[in-house]
Symmetry: C2
Subunit: 245 residues, 2 copies
Amino acid sequence: MTNFKAYLNHISLDCVIFGFHENQLKVLLLQMKYTKKWALPGGFVKKEESFEEAAERVLKERTGMDNIFLQQFHVFSDPKRSEMNPAVKDLEKSGSGEGLDWFSQRFISTGFYALVDFHKVDPAPDFFSDKCEWKALEEIDNLMMDHRQILDKALETLRLHLTYQPIGYNLLPKKFTMPELQKLYETILGKSLDRRNFQRKILSYKILNKLDERKKGGAYKAPYLYEFNLENYNKALKEGFSGSW
Amino acid sequence: MTNFKAYLNHISLDCVIFGFHENQLKVLLLQMKYTKKWALPGGFVKKEESFEEAAERVLKERTGMDNIFLQQFHVFSDPKRSEMNPAVKDLEKSGSGEGLDWFSQRFISTGFYALVDFHKVDPAPDFFSDKCEWKALEEIDNLMMDHRQILDKALETLRLHLTYQPIGYNLLPKKFTMPELQKLYETILGKSLDRRNFQRKILSYKILNKLDERKKGGAYKAPYLYEFNLENYNKALKEGFSGSW
DNA sequence: TCAAAAGTGTTTGGTTTACACCCATGA
DNA sequence: TCATGGGTGTAAACCAAACACTTTTGA
């Protein structure tokens, strides 16, 4: 990451990495070394790389994972967005003048959102950060540059996609319970849903297999476990479905 | 357009300009001077400009119009997409070596779609084209580079937006008939709809004002004219609505 | 006067919503 | 034994799909 010659000028990307844990939607964030501001994991695009490849590279570096569900959602091109780039300040403070020119330029950033299984992620900070952590949506605050705006747009997109695509496969572990799936939907949509109606509707899509197992360990009555029926799930993804929540 | 120093390297945008005429969805295309291939109107981004501003500039130059409904929909970043840029060939043939370096570089293009009132457009070719014409979707063929892919993605996006936004205001003249509006929806969706159910549904959104006038001149029974109720239309745009067609 | 397009209304079936009861579990 | 969460069912309200009849117009 010291040889910026390999990368395209002016071009960056930022990833909003969503995970689901303890009934909360969480986002993987980095804390910048000097300004202590929080940032979305981002990166640059090599001269012979597509944006999607670059995003996969960033995802791999920050999470250790391959084959992540990834979707571009918006380009952020306001010329003013680069003016407050704290990497510039970080570099000045650190004394390492290297890269100052690079980070002082205008960046046009393409936003990607990613959906991952929380438990499979091994968070790793990058060169400019000393922390890489999951943050629940409500805890998020004081993001650098326009990253709050990028996050909000990602959420909005996720919400839209939820109404015509069965999202969930990428965010949940292989086996999960109906209440867990419902909480996921409720978190993304920001509203609560009727337990019984939710179950009926999601089952009507035929994208789930009900297992004989139940989830043990929790308090109260043990809920059944489900898994996605990949065949039908992929069919539904392709065809789209006009469900509304 | 000869001083490329004012523009950001590697970065371009392409506009899919939709219009509606004679019951057909049409797209404004340019024909390249030498290769005779058809192309989407595109342009570059100035160093102090947002993409949206650049797109408005391109729209203004090609259509003569301001205040066009504009929406970015995807970034096309495959490194191979630039390999077949016919502008390079055009410049070679034309003998004017100027700009060859510029057009030989890799371009990452952001796609915008625009919705305009067909009758208000005054099509103007650009420096590299000698024709600027409306083409119905079925006539379109032999587009340069990946422009067919860009067009298809624009259509797909338009279709998606149609199901949660009342599109139409930007594509139709101020006064229009119900059959015209229906034809627009049918063209975008690529399927036919029941006349009576369509009318009931669209009226239920309360975004139209029925006028006392009827459209004269046509054969057969004269249909009523409608106009959009801007207040309710904008409300509906903001809130989104979960209609399905 | 008739074919084609437009205005309007009704029936039917499915989906969504709202709500109630019973079961299992750990405290 | 009871509070809490989970499994399952049903009636009512609403919406969408299918369909028919009448009116207007130019040829």
